[in-house]
């Protein structure tokens, strides 16, 4: 690796870090309660809505936010744009945390966690199950992410020999790191095909796998831009505008492709009027697409892509719009009928907040102690 990276150094136990720690503790308390009294004691999930925010946010949205590593790897390694490699390590790190914590949250979401390893036992596996593919794929990808990130840790502990050995085979992990998300991110969409008539036609579509794949990439890039700008502001570092504005030039095309498929698909099936009926589902449909359209309109003009402020707004719109599409597919668009209702309970929310806080803590700790961010040239 040619580029130099540095650990930022500085105090780890800052105020934001402690606030996050407090949230994690509250989350842990409710997780304890869940293991003693059952999922129903902390969650509003029910037989009509068997999946709540732990799946819809922690896994389905969370892993998309963690597609930063995937999106950047795609550009750097497949499209051979070496100039973006300063973005690789921070992106990989957020991916590693995002996926790992999604994996952790699955453990307390599944009811019979103590035999969760059944999914890896060949005599139980159901090759027809989309869930099987997703679980196996995400499980493997978490390992791959840690292997991809390992050079940074080996660098920190000055394990040069091990690092040299890993560098010789790292291309296999990089390749897997591109293949696996392509598989499971699209399959997260395929998963909801099975919901059939329970999923509103505004979301149920044969294009679910393709749309989920595109949103994973869109959200991934948006997360890179968002993370890079936030890191620059909070750690008082120069913004990587030359890279960010170049990456964002791809976005209008991706967003355009997505919106054309998304709207035309609903339109051709004849369900577009549902979007304007004033109900929650219709409004959410409009909102998610308007957010993505806003990002498209901002980023379509080259001048806008030079402005950190507009770039930040566009990345927020993409993060929100893409996440909403996924969240709506799993919760808002899902209606099992016969009067079931779902809104997350406070303990349920706090478990998810705890996951997010743990992610922020890990990020703060790592950028300060592990060489992740690119080294600044002395002025």
């Amino acid at each position: 690796m040619q580029e130099e990276r540095q650990a930022l150094g500085g105090k780890v136990l800052t105020v934001p870090f402690m606030v996050c720690a407090a949230i994690v503790l509250i989350g842990l308390f409710f997780i304890g309660k869940r293991f003693i009294f059952g999922i129903g004691s902390v969650s509003n999930m029910n037989d009509g809505y068997p999946w709540g925010i732990w799946i819809a946010y922690d896994v389905v949205v969370g892993t998309a936010l963690a597609c930063a590593g995937y999106s950047i790897a795609l550009i750097v390694y497949v499209f051979n744009k070496g100039e973006y490699s300063p973005l690789v390590r921070p992106a990989l790190m957020t991916s590693m945390f995002g996926y790992t914590l999604a994996g952790v949250s699955v453990i307390f979401d599944i009811g019979r966690y103590w035999q969760g390893y059944n999914i890896f036992l060949p005599w139980f596996s159901n090759l027809h199950s989309v869930m099987f593919e997703v679980a196996l794929c995400i499980g493997t990808y978490i390992l791959v992410l840690w292997m991809e990130f390992a050079p940074a840790l080996l660098e920190k502990f000055k394990a040069d020999k091990l690092q040299a050995r890993l560098n010789r085979v790292i291309f296999v992990f990089i390749a897997l790191g591109i293949l696996l998300p392509t598989m499971h991110q699209s399959s997260l969409g395929t998963m909801m095909l099975m919901a059939g008539h329970k999923l509103s036609p505004l979301w149920w579509s044969g294009f679910l796998p393709l749309l989920f794949l595109i949103t994973a990439v869109v959200i991934g890039y948006a997360a890179v831009i968002f993370e890079s700008l936030i890191a620059a502001i909070s750690f008082n570092r120069p913004m990587e505008m030359h890279l960010l504005s170049k990456i964002s030039a791809v976005m209008p095309w991706l967003l355009g492709l997505y919106l054309v498929i998304r709207i035309e698909d609903v339109n051709l099936r004849g369900y577009l009027p549902l979007a304007f009926d004033g109900g929650l589902q219709g409004n959410m449909f409009l909102l998610e697409n308007l957010l993505l359209l806003t990002a498209l309109l901002i980023l379509a003009y080259p001048n806008n892509r030079q402005s950190p402020r507009l770039l930040f707004i566009a990345s927020c719109a993409m993060l929100l719009g893409g996440s909403m599409y996924r969240f709506n597919t799993y919760i808002v668009g899902f209606d099992p009928g016969t009067g079931w209702r779902y809104f997350p309970s406070v303990p349920e929310l706090f478990i998810t907040f705890g996951i997010i806080a743990a992610e922020v803590m890990a990020y703060l700790w790592f950028v300060k102690t592990v060489p992740v961010l690119p080294k600044l040239k002395k002025a």
Binding site: G38, Y77, Q115, M131, A175
Partner: protein, 316 residues
């Protein structure tokens, strides 16, 4: 032969587009599933049901399920309002209030697992905890395999599988057509208990014929109706109901082994209007098109390794 990077990418992009095109629902759908050779099922005739709920009681006895109180503050008797982790079989009442000679009246419906020919739950389950018996077609649950992911609940078009939300060691609960009684040569407890023959057990082929026979009856005339088991000799005489000319479950989502007859529209009994093709066939078809023999993923992985390795070598 040397493949150039750019050519490979072009090929991969074209492949991706083809794949996307392949995903158009009509093409990706795989074919329908046939009835298993010795398929057994239940024919429930709403016009014969008197709402006595003895089937609910028999079901709980046969499956060791506790009583359930709709209002826990005033517990009286077992009165489940719907299926739950404690209730595998429930009788529900649909009513229209009004003056006597209008359309006012009521009808009953019995809800439990439909034992679909192409069950979404079986296809969804990642660990084969739900399986369809290849011989008699009964869909059973194995708690030793289940990880509690609840995808079966999301997938089931009839909202049948229930989860023990308030247990630290929860299980999925659903009607298994009394598989333990079938194994001993018996029949489902609900059918054995039904006093009027509204719940009728039997081979699905015979139940289909019986359903057709009933649709051909003239309303108000007396006919023979078998009780408990279609193969039994016990018969009762009833006036034929004014049937809706449809056997629910014969076609819905590829068909099921539980069939319904009713005198009021099925939608008002809480049975959704469903297409003939199952959602499973579509999801399976798409999944199969992409992952058949893992050919596409392996080819893509090979291509990626080739590209990335080449690039890393050039750098050195």
């Amino acid at each position: 032969m040397k493949i150039r990077r750019r050519d490979f990418l072009k090929g991969a992009a074209a492949g991706g587009l083809l794949l996307a095109a392949d995903q158009s629902p009509a093409q990706a759908r795989r074919s329908r599933k046939e009835l298993p050779p010795n398929a057994v099922g239940i024919l429930y005739d709403s016009t014969l049901c008197i709402g006595c709920k003895v089937c609910e009681y028999a079901c709980k006895q046969a499956n060791n399920k506790p009583v359930e109180h709709a209002n826990p503050k005033e517990p009286m008797w077992d009165d489940p309002q719907d299926l739950s982790a404690k209730t595998l079989n429930v009788i529900k009442r649909y009513g229209v209030d009004g003056p006597k000679d209008s359309l006012a009246g009521f009808a009953f419906i019995k809800r439990h697992c439909m034992h679909c020919l192409d069950p979404a739950c079986v296809s969804a389950c990642p660990v084969s905890a739900l399986v369809k018996n290849p011989d008699n077609g009964v869909v059973t649950y194995n708690k030793k395999a289940c990880i509690g992911c609840r995808y079966c609940q999301v997938a089931c078009p009839y909202n049948i599988p229930k989860f023990e939300w308030n247990s630290p060691f929860p299980e999925i609960v659903k009607c298994q057509m009394c598989a333990h009684l079938l194994a001993k040569g018996g029949i489902s407890a609900c059918c054995a208990a039904c006093p009027t023959g509204a719940s009728l057990f039997g081979p699905v082929e015979k139940l289909r014929t019986e359903a057709k026979r009933r649709l051909g009856m003239s309303p108000g005339e007396y006919y023979d109706f078998p009780v408990a088991n279609i193969d039994s000799t016990e018969v009762q005489q009833h006036r034929a109901g004014d049937y809706v000319k449809h056997v629910y479950g014969a076609q819905e989502l590829g068909g099921s082994q539980v069939l319904y007859l009713a005198g009021v529209p099925f939608a008002s009994l809480g049975l959704p209007d469903l297409p003939d093709d199952s959602y499973v066939a579509l999801a399976d078809g798409i999944q199969y098109a992409i992952y058949k023999g893992m050919v596409y993923p392996i080819v893509v992985l090979g291509g990626l390794i080739y590209i990335i390795r080449n690039r890393e070598e050039k750098k050195e």
